[in-house]
Symmetry: C2
Amino acid sequence: MSHLISPDPTGGRPVVPGNGRLRPLGLAEVQITGGFWGRRQAVNAEATIGHIEHWIEREGWIGNFDAAREGRLLGERRGREFSDSEIYKLMEAMSWEIGRHPNADLELRLKALVDRVAPVQLQDGYLNTRFGRVGQGGRYTDLEWGHELYCYGHLIQAAVARARTHGDDLLISVARRAADHICDTFGPQGIQSVCGHAEVEMALVELARLTGEQRYLEQAALFVERRGTGVLADIEFGRSYFQDDIPFRQATVLRGHAVRAVYLASGAVDVAVETGDRELMDSAVLQWENTLARRTYLTGGMGSHHQDEAFGDDFVLPPDRAYSESCAGVGSVMLSWRLLLASGEARYADLIERTLFNVVATSPSFEGTSFYYTNSLHQRRPGLPARVDEASARAAASMRAPWFEVSCCPPNVARTFASLAGYLATSDDDGVQVHQYADSQVRTTLPDGRAIAFDTYTRYPEDGAITIRIVGDESRPWTLTLRVPSWAEGATLTESGLTRPVRAGTVSVTRTFGLGDEIRLRLPVTPRFTLPDPRIDAVRDCVAVESGPLVLCAESVDLPDGTELDQVRVDVSRSPVVGSGAVERPAALAGAIGSGGMQAHPVASVTARLIELDPDQVWPYESGTGAGLGDTTGEVPATEVAIPLIPYHAWANRGPAAMRVWLPRARPLSSQISGTASAAGPMGD
Amino acid sequence: MSHLISPDPTGGRPVVPGNGRLRPLGLAEVQITGGFWGRRQAVNAEATIGHIEHWIEREGWIGNFDAAREGRLLGERRGREFSDSEIYKLMEAMSWEIGRHPNADLELRLKALVDRVAPVQLQDGYLNTRFGRVGQGGRYTDLEWGHELYCYGHLIQAAVARARTHGDDLLISVARRAADHICDTFGPQGIQSVCGHAEVEMALVELARLTGEQRYLEQAALFVERRGTGVLADIEFGRSYFQDDIPFRQATVLRGHAVRAVYLASGAVDVAVETGDRELMDSAVLQWENTLARRTYLTGGMGSHHQDEAFGDDFVLPPDRAYSESCAGVGSVMLSWRLLLASGEARYADLIERTLFNVVATSPSFEGTSFYYTNSLHQRRPGLPARVDEASARAAASMRAPWFEVSCCPPNVARTFASLAGYLATSDDDGVQVHQYADSQVRTTLPDGRAIAFDTYTRYPEDGAITIRIVGDESRPWTLTLRVPSWAEGATLTESGLTRPVRAGTVSVTRTFGLGDEIRLRLPVTPRFTLPDPRIDAVRDCVAVESGPLVLCAESVDLPDGTELDQVRVDVSRSPVVGSGAVERPAALAGAIGSGGMQAHPVASVTARLIELDPDQVWPYESGTGAGLGDTTGEVPATEVAIPLIPYHAWANRGPAAMRVWLPRARPLSSQISGTASAAGPMGD
């Protein structure tokens, strides 16, 4: 029954919709050649993937498969119920990495992992180290928390990546048997429920796309439809935690556990695309829109509850208790990418860019061997360094940690970086669309045979100048479409010697391009102030600074001696100025070798005044009545300091530090009343 | 060995230190006769205690004892591992209630409960329905989460309440056997560990005070010393969760799980008082001071994390995600009361007052049959009403719920209200100190035989006039000391026909008082604005309104039609004005009968302008540069509305509503620039 699967001639793509506005390009068609993302990909290949291999061995998570094979799993199994999935995500990262850049050693390591996993699969396709054996929990007896289908989802995604970049092998047959088992077990006549953690939906659709097996698509659609009808048990956090509170097509906003929510929405979009289910697609778009308008951090981060790793209510976006899980960032990119392919709308690429630069790139250290699980926008006190030799409790570290008891983020970041070129550009019948800017090359052929070849040169995001140079000699005209980010007020396009302003959205050039022709897009990355909506209570009267796609932050290590971050009040009447340093300069220091040449440098600075903080205050509230109340906030009018700002993603790479994205604003000098407040008495009159 | 314990001639007191600055008065010496707390006590007696009895039966938590007695517990046990403690807290509430006001029916109900519990105690004193039987977890095998010693603590506190209000009975002998068992098991040669939830420490000290048995005190001291040395396992939240991170005497601030923290500190103070351990006491005082200065809500509430019910870092006090658990409020009162007795310092009574009016009184509904577990200072959207017939998940309800899966708060509030008179006044060798103001009577005798008798008349906190009328004819002089709350700027004292200003702290009058003499304290309860410390990021640029000891709030049901709470911007140049209604007026409506005549009425109002909120915004951040940035916040200068404010504790008694304690401030009109912000473009220039 199983026919041989050939590698994808495009070089492999994470998502291959059967229809939609745009066709994704594969890893053989678009490659990152350097710059910001090139450095990240290099560190990912050279450090992160090996680091993850080390830790899954060390923690015994891959050892669970050996123990299962040898019949000694009972009592010896290690890790949480979903630890199998981390091996699968690593396999996916390895598959993309090999697809991006052939690597015989990595090929052997991947094969070795598959050889340890495959024998654990049972005759009927069931594969899990945590359930199903005598003395373990029974199969599918704990759908709320057991993660069995979630693990299959990652297994299947790994297999799809492998098949597209390499062609058929053992991993694909394991995944197909697992998928058949899922359909047998959870089909129309099977268990009428879903997994507590969405994930398998999009995996099944992709496997259907790969194999042509409609049954997988039908099963994914069933899972999407069932969820939301209370098929899972109620739990302390409520059924919204796993989106089982409202059917997907009736929901209007993402809610509950953020990773679950974005994974489910991604799967729903996949189903909608393949089945032509307009209502389902419309619901996904509406949920995306409302989430963006009311439940998303400036960084693109999603999730504001530590308790349940969940979305908060509308406008509940505290910077200091931001959860903004790295994996929710990865999932948000997956969701927006699917919506971009379906619709062609630049807003989705805008969010992908914001999330990649400010969430996904924030998780790993420059060295690629420690990670943020959550991505707080405000660190009050310099934290303790994470131990380099010890797994951290989930999300607990104030510094990046090498590994976590729940360690979904490192391999999730790794698979994203390894496949990142696949998110840069697309094509349609008329030409190519560039969505993300990086030193890169595009080589593709349109359906009618027009051959497109161009290279992109840029120091983006440090600099907003992007040059696209045509390196092919296609004689027929075609259309080059470039995204103009929503923040890029004043952008210009230069082509054929003419420079013209371009508006946010996309700009297209249709003509016959000659070899060596250059199209230049200039995006102003001048640092700019950004204000929050007044409903975001947690950052009222604060300002952030952005530069191009980068959210900036103040880190305490850059402050003058004796100054605390809490004292800083930004003078918004003085525009931020460009800082001295490049975003990530090649490191001259030997110590920075392992970090791919990345360093944290100020890219902008703002002018601030300082306030005095009372170290001896006994009660942090002060009463008074009448006019002038609180105009005396202890601000010291004489002080004026420049506060350097670095890219948020680069913070905590220079040791423990306090950090703020949102900085309180200074009061206008005109309205100030001299003198500081009395600690004892009422204020004003 | 057990000698008969006589009832406390004072009528019973929750805490009876062996030494200290002040001697507490018992329930026979001070009684609440009406007013705010009189109504609360009446509802507690008439509704709450019976409500709790109903639910512990219904949930099977008392039934666990029957099942244990009948050997059918295994497989039938219901409730969480600490459910036994709720029965004990109820017994304590009943004991105080009977001591406050003899009640033959309640006496029978208490006796019936004791008769169901006592037979479950094993020969060696062990008593717990969750551990120790074949098929259950072994005794003390899960000290981190098992709560066995915590349950004993509540058992012992119930027994102490019973002994002091009634004298020896079965409950006391059960508790003594349990205490002996604890000492045998956890003594110097026993298990070198502590309970994950502090509580037994203060119970053991009180039992030592009651019985004279020093061994109990020594055991309590051992528990205090052991904790903080890593005797418990590390957990996801870290050992600070159960204060096992730092020895108590080295700690400088309360941290971790808030209820655990305040219970532990209370026990440490008890130990320090009895052993004369100055260092231990100093540490408790320092922790209290730093917690008050940096980790306490305006309401007195403690705990700002939902995740682990814990204190946050300094100044992390988000109103919308406030945890401020009712039980942490109860525990904070217990801690401050101990420190007040030891030191005589009014600051402790200040915090007790703030916490009683704004946390403990907030938990129960007016009817006394539904409760807040957490006490949020900001409800964004009207919540769903809690089901009256169903236990809520812990802390999940946005409205008060009748019961919780973890239902510590209802009986904790009940025992506090039943014993509340015991927290009003104290005596020393020279006279009597009044710490809390309520319609009440004091009848006590000083050590040298001077007989003190006075009544207090007041409509406090609705009105700040307090009249103390001497109703005895003691011929020798004595000293009457009255607390002047820290907020009472402009307070006056009138006695012997003279009125004089008095400062925050205490004011004393020493003389011979004649029958019918009146001393009048006038505390200005004029509503006042209160500003937060600039380090409390979550309420930057906001203002609260307080009136006397009451924190006020705006509730959406009082807003003009079509106005949302998010639109309100308070004009702080206009002082708040006294509102139309009394705090809690006797209800004319039949429907309010069951609520002891309590109703929510505005006590003040502020002048506000409204801002426009953009319902169609696609991204809640907006960029711009330069002067004038963000002075255009969509404020509508023409609008001016009066926003009624009710006492915070009275909120959510009129159906689901949005609510805010902290209200954003309007910008000064002089600095406003007309026009609203463009949603698309940059702001300013």
